[in-house]
Amino acid sequence: MIKHFLNLEWKQYMRSSYWQKNLILNIFIVFFALYFVVIFLILGFTLLPILKDFYPNQEPLTLVNQYIFYYIIIDLFIRFFLQKLPVMSVKALLTTPIKRSTIVHYVLGKSGVSFFNFLPLFAIIPFGIMLTTDGVSGSQAFVWVLTMVLLVLIINYLNFIIESLSEGSELSFLPLIAVAAALYGLDYFEIVPITTLIGDAILGIVHNPILILVPMLVLGLVYSYNFKILKQKLFLDSSLKSKVTEVKVADLSWTKRFGSIAPFMQLDLKLIWRNKRTKSSVFIMVIGLLYGLFFYPQPMYKDLVWIFPFIGIFVTGIFLINFGQFIPAWDSGYYKLLMSQNIKYEQYLRSKFILMVISVGLMFVLSIPYVYFGYKILIAHFAAAIYNIGVNSHVMLYGGSFNRKKIDLNQRAAFNYQGTGAVQWIIGLPLMILPMLIFALVNWLIGFMAGIGVLIGLGVLGIVFHKKLMKVITQRYLNSKYKMINAFSEDN
């Protein structure tokens, strides 16, 4: 049975237009993965000597175990946003003589071999080997490695439980943040010393290998809970008969002031508000806005002026990057309609452009309070906003014409929780890094204001040539019209 499933998936992957047409992106992702593997390998081999250097009086194993708590929290976070449960189109399989439990076991098992689970091994195993050179017995090191592997798997399945619990709510990431913050707070203010508790627990397992049954039991529990919730979802009526939602009609007549593009603006606003997938990109704006708080309060970033535009681009452009990169795939479900209707491509694109510009303006205004950390931050954010409007928005629209992947707004595929993957963030990187490099260079050569000036200049240039650029972009869309229609009418 598994053989059949694997065969189906292989075909689905290799035969999708996404794979065939995005070879470069795929290669890029492979490099990205290799990069992380190397980093983790280095970490695994060098951690022990480093720890011995810095803390000669403490056992490295004890020390590492105390940090496992932070690892769990961070890993959960990263997974929550980047990892999704493998998607499988099950509708066709439900009527075939395959046991439901086989399908669920398969999906869960497949998630077990995810890259997110392999990556830590590249650090854990080398560290385990290094331990044996440091007086820890081979069997103890082995037990430690085994415990860590179990822990990674527990995190893996725990994440899916969290995702499925938060699936329905709109601010899905808030509970996770709250729980993590609470745990961290308990530990930080030494109310409950979770770090040492977890450290001691792992150390206990290493000394009494029989206790490894405990993490095994926990893994069994999280797995079977996952199994339970997935199996419940695996009925036709839950995927076929989606809940019929009562329509909430909002008055959008104010868009009339945008003239000929008003119908498209209304359509886009409804698109964003009425579909789960697009809605999440609105809520990601909240995260984006708070992103600066990771950096600015820390004194070490006070003088790292060159990083300000990077954060500025991120904060003011998060919606632009998130929403923009799927233009025109958001409309892929009814692209044929648009193409056979009496519309001007330019109006269609301009509506998206204005939406992005409004979001950038809004995010800039909301980010003004960052001035508390220094006036330079405000100036840098302003320059970043102008750059976003003038350059990145056009780049996004242009890049959209290469879009060949259909987005299923209705989320018919079962097991589709968030629909966002690591790829989405990788695409955004050049948009943020390029202006940062430009700024850093000018800042280093001439000075802060000159760097800001260059960024603003580039942005203004883009705004001045907006009409010309839109013409080029529109032409580009017209040229790839047939290819896009074809790709968008493909399933997967």
Binding site: S242, V244, T245, E246, V247, V249, A262, P263, Q266, L267, K270, L271, R274, N275, G333, Y334, Y335, K336, L337, M339, S340, Q341, N342, I343, L409, N410, Y482, I485, N486, S489
Partner: protein
Amino acid sequence: MIHTENLTKSYNGNTVLKIDEIHIPKGQSFGLVGNNGAGKTTYFSLLLDLIKPTTGSITNNDIVVDQSEAWKPFTSSFIDESFLIGYLTPEEYFYFIGDLRGQNKADVDALTAKFEDFFNGEILGQKKYLRDLSKGNQKKAGIVAALIGHPEVIILDEPFANLDPTTQIRLKQIIKDLATTQGVTVLISSHDLMHVTEVCERIVVLEKGEIVKDLETNPETLKELESHFAGTPLALQEEE
């Protein structure tokens, strides 16, 4: 009105449609029949410039469809569900299409009011999104949307499929009305020989991408079509 010349469409050297010449005059109700893979939807897609012809061209009211977009204001169509926008209510969808075709809300309301019978109370004022409607009701909404804005050419692919009997009968009346009293050129395709012969003045049979019959509808047409599809062994086998 619609003139097709030397039209072929091939995928990787495999010709799926080959029409030397066919002319559809204004105000004709034109039916396209054929088995699966005969090229009906391919022809309609070419007519709407959704795919590019390999050779030849189609002119719609003297406009070459793959060179100019000027045919769009007077042509409308409903091919499949991908012509619907799932997250809109039927009313919003009608208004959106109306906006694109230069009709204000009142115009659209006046038009949709005429189809209350056809809708059978299941479309308007339901506070449901199109994606939550049944297949048949989605189709009703799509067909009526194709009538918005006084189009001169209307293209409907398999309009009778998925509809309940009552609606099928009402739809036949609507299509007949369009062609005879309003002078609209209606192109439909169907697997149902009875419906097509009832509605269309002219019926063209496609087989493996080529025209094999071109008939003026008369009382004998249905018999002729039935014997054609029953008799030829080629027609029996499922293609595609």
